[in-house]
C-alpha cells in the first residue's frame, strides 16, 4: 500500500512537514536528525520526532521521522513529505511512504541497485516489492522503484554527494576525507535547501551541536553553504510545492523523549533510589538518571538519586523494595522480559504494603519478541503481576507530559496507598521526542501518606505495622525508626508481621489490603482515571490507552474538520478498574471503537471482565510500528461505510 498524498505544505497552509532520514545504524542518522530538529526548533517550529531502530549496534537499518509544524503534534505521519537517503536500503524501504507531491533525495550510486542484493532488506520485503513492481512492468531494482515513485507523482532529487564533498574540501583547503566528516550536516542541508528553509537556522543548529568546537563548526557551516549553492545550481524547485519556514515564537522550549520525561518526573517526584538491569527500551531512563544523580533543590542545597545497576531484574526489584522499606521513594525500570522476572517480588511488595514504583516500557513480545519495536502487550501481566490476589495500581501514560507528571504522581500513589504502582509506557513513547515548554514542577505535590511516629522506647513490643483499619491503610513504619521494630514477610501475617495461617487473621489482612483500592477509587478524580477529548456528546467513541493518544487526537481534528462528531476516552488508570465511571461513560457509545497496539485487545478484555461491555470494533496493530492518525481515519471511514469487521487489524507491509 503506497502512502496517500501528503498534506500539502505549500503557502497558505498551516505548516506541517513530515521529514524522514534513514541509514545503517551507527552511520549518523541520529546526528542528522538532531541537527534538523534543532534547526526547526530554533526556527520556532514544534517538533515530533520518532526513532525506529533494530536490535543491532552497527549496520542494520534505522530511521528517524521529524514532524515540524506550527501547531504542536503528538504523532508521526505515515505519508512522508521529504525522504533523505544515503544508501540503497533506506531508499528501497521508504519510497512507498511517499505520495504525490512529495520528494526523495538519493545518491547517484543508489539509483539502480537490485533489491535482492541489498544485504539487510528482508527477503519478504524484497519479494513483495518485486511483485508490486512486476505488476507495473518494472524491474526489481531501486531504479524500478524510483520509476514507480515518479509515476505516483514523487519528485526525485538525485544528489552527487561526492561532488559536494569535493567542493567543500576545496573551499576549506582540507582533504576530502576530512570534508566527509560533515556528511550528516550536508545531508540535512540538502533537505533544508530543497525546502527553501533559511540556512541560518541550520548554521545555528550546528553551533549548538558542537558548542565551543570552532573548527568543527566552521567545517559544518561551510558544508551548509556549499550544499545550498549546489542545490541552487542543480535543481529547479518551482514544481516542488513543499517548503518550510520559521515562525515567530519566543517560547522557550526543550525537546524531550519519553524516557527523559519519566526520569525528570521521578526526580521531581522525590526519587531517592533506582535499581535497574539494562534492557531496551527502558535503559535510557536509568541512563538519564545516572547522568543526573546529583541535582539542586530549591533551598539552594543538593539532592541525589542513588542508582544501582544490578545483576538481574530480580535483584533490581528486590533492592528497590528494600530501599522503600527505609522510607525512600524507590523504583525500578524495565521492559517485558524484566517485568516477568519481577513478578514474585511484586507479590511480596504488595503483601508487605511497600510503596514501590515499577516502570514498564513495553516492547514487542512475548519472550525477546521485537526488542526495539513498540507494542502494548504487557497490560495483562501488569494488571495481574504476580500470583494470588493483591492490590496494585496500574497507570498508563500517553505522551511526554503525562509521562512526566505521572512518573512523579506514581510515588504519591505508592506512598498513599502503600503498595505497588506499575507505570506502563511503551517503546513508541520512549523514543519519540517532542518540543515542550519547560515543565512545571510547581504543580507537583508531594504526599507521603500515613507514616507512624517513632515510639522511642524499645520495650513496647513489636509495632502493629499491619494494623487492621477501616480504610485499609495502616501507619507505615520505616526501618530504623526508634522503637517501632516489627517484621515484614511474604507470608500471611499478623498486624505485627508475624507469620500466621490463622483463618480469621488471614481474612482480616487480605480484606484490609484490598480496601485500599476502594479508597483509591473513591479518592482519585475522574481525570486521573480517564481523560475525555473531542465532542463529549458524540456517540462515535474511541477508547484507547498509552501512546496511541497522539494519533487518535489528531484523527479527532481531521474528523472535526469533516464535520463528524467523535469523542475519545483515554484511559489512565488501568487498575483498580474504575467500573462505575467507565460503565457510565460508555453507556451511550455507538459505535465503541477500542484501539490497541497488541494482538488480543488486552484492555478490551479487562473492560469486558469488569463491566461486561464489549467494543463494536476492536482496532489492533501488532507489527511493532506505532499507529498513525491516517490509519485510524481510514478505519473510521470503513466503519461509517458499514463494511468494517468487528476486528480490524492495521497492516502495512512497507513499514
Amino acid at each position: 500500500m503506497a502512502a496517500e498524498s501528503p498534506n500539502g505544505n505549500g503557502s497558505g497552509h498551516v505548516q506541517d512537514l513530515a521529514w524522514r532520514v534513514g541509514g545503517p545504524q551507527g552511520s549518523g542518522v541520529d546526528t542528522a536528525a538532531l541537527i534538523f530538529q534543532r534547526a526547526c526548533g530554533i526556527a520556532g517550529l514544534h517538533l515530533f520526532g520518532r526513532r525506529e531502530y533494530s536490535s543491532n549496534i552497527m549496520g542494520r537499518h534505522s530511521y528517524y521521522d521529524v514532524r515540524a509544524s506550527e501547531m504542536p503534534r503528538a504523532s508521526h505521519r505515515d505519508a512522508v513529505d521529504l525522504l533523505t537517503t544515503f544508501e540503497a536500503e533506506t531508499l528501497s524501504r521508504h519510497l512507498m511512504a511517499l505520495g504525490e507531491g512529495s520528494g526523495v533525495i538519493y545518491r547517484t550510486d543508489d539509483a539502480d541497485v537490485e533489491l535482492h542484493k541489498i544485504t539487510y532488506l528482508d527477503g519478504r520485503y524484497a519479494d513483495d516489492l518485486a511483485a508490486y513492481l512486476a505488476e507495473r512492468g518494472l524491474p526489481a531494482t531501486t531504479g524500478g522503484q524510483l520509476e514507480d515513485a515518479k509515476n505516483r507523482g514523487v519528485r526525485l532529487f538525485k544528489v552527487n554527494i561526492d561532488e559536494i564533498v569535493a567542493q567543500l574540501a576545496e573551499a576549506m583547503g582540507v582533504p576530502p576525507a576530512i570534508a566527509g566528516r560533515a556528511r550528516n550536516t550536508l545531508a540535512v542541508a540538502v533537505s533544508t535547501a530543497l525546502l527553501d528553509f533559511s540556512r541560518d537556522y541550520v548554521k545555528a543548529a550546528v553551533a549548538k551541536t558542537w558548542p565551543g568546537r570552532q573548527k568543527i563548526i566552521d567545517l559544518n557551516v561551510e558544508a551548509i553553504e556549499q550544499t545550498y549553492n549546489y542545490v541552487d545550481a542543480n535543481y529547479d524547485r518551482s514544481d516542488f510545492a513543499i517548503s518550510l519556514h520559521g515562525c515567530d515564537s519566543t517560547e522557550k522550549r526543550m525537546i524531550v523523549n519519553g524516557n527523559q520525561a519519566v526520569a525528570l518526573g521521578k526526580i521531581a517526584g522525590g526519587i531517592g533510589f533506582q535499581s535497574y538491569y539494562p534492557i531496551s527500551p527502558a535503559t535510557d531512563e536509568s541512563f538519564f538518571l545516572e547522568a543526573h544523580e546529583e541535582y539542586p533543590v530549591t533551598d539552594g542545597g543538593q539532592s541525589n538519586v542513588i542508582m544501582v545497576q544490578t545483576e538481574d531484574e530480580i535483584s533490581a526489584v528486590t533492592m528497590a523494595a528494600g530501599a522503600a522499606l527505609t522510607g525512600a521513594r524507590a523504583s525500578t525500570s524495565t521492559s517485558g522480559p524484566g517485568f516477568a522476572l519481577m513478578c514474585e517480588a511484586i507479590g511480596w511488595a504488595a503483601i508487605n504494603e511497600v510503596p514501590l514504583v515499577i516502570t514498564d516500557w513495553q516492547r514487542g513480545a512475548p519472550s525477546t519478541g521485537m526488542p526495539t519495536r513498540s507494542e502494548q502487550g504487557d497490560l495483562r501481566i501488569a494488571a495481574t503481576g504476580s500470583h494470588g490476589d493483591f492490590p496494585s495500581i496500574v497507570v498508563a501514560s500517553g505522551d511526554v507530559f503525562e509521562a512526566f507528571y505521572d512518573a512523579a504522581e506514581c510515588f504519591n500513589y505508592a506512598e498513599r496507598y502503600q503498595g505497588i504502582v506499575i507505570h506502563v509506557l511503551d517503546k513508541a513513547l520512549s523514543s519519540s521526542s517532542r518540543t515542550v515548554p519547560y515543565l512545571d514542577t510547581d504543580q507537583i505535590g508531594i504526599d507521603r501518606g500515613l507514616i507512624a511516629e517513632p515510639r522511642g522506647e524499645h520495650d513496647e513490643g513489636a509495632f502493629n505495622r499491619f494494623a487492621v483499619t477501616e480504610s485499609g491503610v495502616s501507619p507505615r513504619t520505616l526501618l530504623g525508626q526508634q522503637g517501632n521494630a516489627h517484621w515484614c514477610t511474604g507470608c500471611e501475617h499478623t498486624p505485627q508481621g508475624r507469620v500466621t495461617e490463622d483463618p480469621v487473621v488471614r481474612e482480616d489482612q487480605i480484606e484490609k489490603r484490598h480496601r485500599k483500592m476502594e479508597l483509591a477509587l473513591s479518592e482519585l478524580s475522574l481525570d486521573e482515571k480517564v481523560k475525555i477529548y473531542g465532542d463529549r456528546d458524540a456517540e462515535l467513541t474511541f477508547l484507547s490507552w498509552g501512546s496511541n493518544k497522539g494519533a487518535i487526537i489528531e484523527c479527532l481534528d481531521i474528523l472535526e474538520a469533516e464535520g463528524i462528531p467523535a469523542r475519545f476516552l483515554h484511559v489512565r488508570l488501568i487498575k483498580p478498574f474504575p467500573v462505575d465511571e467507565m460503565t457510565e461513560l460508555l453507556s451511550a457509545a455507538s459505535p465503541l471503537v477500542i484501539v490497541e497496539a497488541n494482538f488480543s485487545g488486552q484492555y478490551a478484555e479487562l473492560l469486558r471482565t469488569y463491566t461486561g461491555i464489549a467494543p463494536d470494533h476492536l482496532v489492533l496493530k501488532y507489527n511493532g510500528r506505532p499507529i498513525s492518525a491516517e490509519e485510524i481515519h481510514r478505519t473510521v471511514r470503513e466503519i461509517r461505510q458499514g463494511d468494517a469487521p468487528a476486528r480490524i487489524v492495521l497492516r502495512n507491509p512497507y513499514q
Binding site: Y295, T298, T318, G322, L479, Q482
Partner: protein, 325 residues
C-alpha cells in the same frame, strides 16, 4: 557500620524474641541465633537500628527470633533486599540470615553481584548441606555421591566451596564458624559486623532431622578411631589480613593459604577468620566519593518537599540541557 546509643545498653535478651520457635529440637540454628543475640549486645547495638533480613528456609526464619527489625524476604533474594536497605539508610546495621540453598542455589547470582559491590553488611549462611524446610533435598554444599536420609538416590551434583566462592566474588571478610562453638561464633559475628564492607560467615550447622551424615557427633569426630573434633581453629600462623598496603606478593601468599585452608574438609575442618581485607572501600563509600550530598541526604532521610508540600527539586539546569531554542 555500627550505631551505639549512649542512653542505654541493650542485653542479649533485648535482641531475642518470645515468638514460638519453629525449629526442630536439637537444630543447629538455635546456636546461631543465640550467637546473634550476644554479638549484637556485645557490640552495644540498638535493636531499632538493626535489620535482620532472612531468606526462605528454616534459616530464613531467623528474623522472627530477633528483637530487631526483621525482614523475611523471598527464597534466594535476601542479599539484594539487604543491599537496598543499607544503601538507602547507611546508618542501619544489616545482617542477612539465609540457608545454603537460598544463598548458593537459587540466590547464587546475587551472591556474585553483591560481592562485586562490597556492600557494608554481614551475610550469615546456615550451612546444613540440605534444604531443611522442603524436607531434606541436597543443598549446593552437599558433596557428590552423598545420600542424606531425605534423598531417594545419592546426589550426582558437585558441591560448591562456599569460602572459595565468596573469595572469588569479592567478599572482603570471610569466616567460618560452627553452631556449637558459641563463643567463637559470637566473636566471628562481632568481627563480621564491625568489618566496613561485605562479610560472609559460613556457619556449619547440623540438621538432625535431614542430615544424618554430618551430625553433631560427626563434627565432634566421634566416628573416628581417635575421637577428636573435626571442627578446629585455623592454624595459629594463618594471617587473614589484607590491607591497602599489602604487596602483590602478600596477596598471593594469602590467596595460596586461603585456598589451602578452605579446601581442608576431612579429619579437620578449619574455622575462624579466613580473610579480613580492609583495603577496599565499601559501596557506600564509593557512592559518597562521587555523590557528595549522599553524606547528608540519603534516600531514606532526604527532604523532598518544600514548606508548601510541593516538590523541592530545581530542574532548570536539566531543562537547559534539553533546550532546543
Amino acid at each position: 557500620m555500627t550505631t551505639t546509643t549512649e542512653a542505654r545498653t541493650y542485653k542479649a535478651k533485648d535482641f531475642s524474641q518470645p515468638n514460638a520457635n519453629d525449629w526442630c529440637a536439637g537444630c543447629g540454628d538455635f546456636g546461631i541465633i543465640n550467637a546473634m543475640h550476644q554479638a549484637c549486645a556485645k557490640l552495644g547495638l540498638d535493636p531499632s537500628s538493626v535489620v535482620t533480613v532472612g531468606g526462605i528456609g528454616c534459616s530464613g526464619k531467623a528474623p522472627y527470633y530477633m528483637g530487631t527489625y526483621g525482614v523475611h524476604t523471598l527464597h534466594g533474594r535476601p542479599l539484594p533486599f539487604a543491599t537496598g536497605i543499607k544503601l538507602a539508610n547507611p546508618d542501619l546495621t544489616v545482617m542477612v540470615a539465609s540457608g545454603d540453598g537460598d544463598t548458593l542455589g537459587i540466590g547464587a547470582g546475587h551472591f556474585v553481584g553483591i560481592g562485586r559491590r562490597n556492600v557494608d553488611l554481614t551475610a550469615i549462611m546456615f550451612d546444613n548441606e540440605v534444604y531443611g524446610l522442603t524436607k531434606g533435598q541436597a543443598a549446593p554444599t552437599l558433596a557428590m555421591g552423598m545420600q542424606t536420609k531425605g534423598l531417594a538416590v545419592p546426589t550426582s551434583q558437585m558441591k560448591i566451596n562456599p569460602l572459595m566462592m565468596a573469595y572469588t566474588c569479592g567478599f572482603t571478610w570471610i569466616g567460618r564458624g560452627y553452631s556449637y562453638n558459641i563463643k567463637q561464633l559470637v566473636q566471628l559475628m562481632m568481627d563480621a559486623i564491625q568489618h566496613k564492607g561485605l562479610a560472609f560467615l559460613d556457619v556449619l550447622q547440623p540438621c538432625p532431622t535431614y542430615n544424618n551424615l554430618h551430625t553433631k557427633d560427626w563434627y565432634a569426630g566421634k566416628d573416628q578411631e581417635e575421637v577428636r573434633p573435626r571442627v578446629q581453629p585455623l592454624p595459629e600462623d594463618f594471617d587473614p589480613s589484607i590491607t591497602a598496603d599489602s604487596s602483590e606478593d602478600d596477596v598471593l601468599d594469602h590467596a595460596r593459604s586461603f585456598m589451602y585452608e578452605s579446601h581442608r574438609w576431612g579429619t579437620e575442618i578449619p574455622t575462624g577468620v579466613f580473610l579480613n581485607n580492609t583495603g577496599l572501600n565499601s559501596f557506600t563509600e564509593r557512592i559518597r566519593e562521587r555523590v557528595k550530598s549522599y553524606a547528608e541526604q540519603t534516600p531514606s532521610n532526604k527532604v523532598i518537599a518544600d514548606a508548601n508540600g510541593m516538590s523541592n527539586v530545581d530542574l532548570t539546569s536539566m531543562f537547559d540541557e534539553l533546550a532546543v531554542n
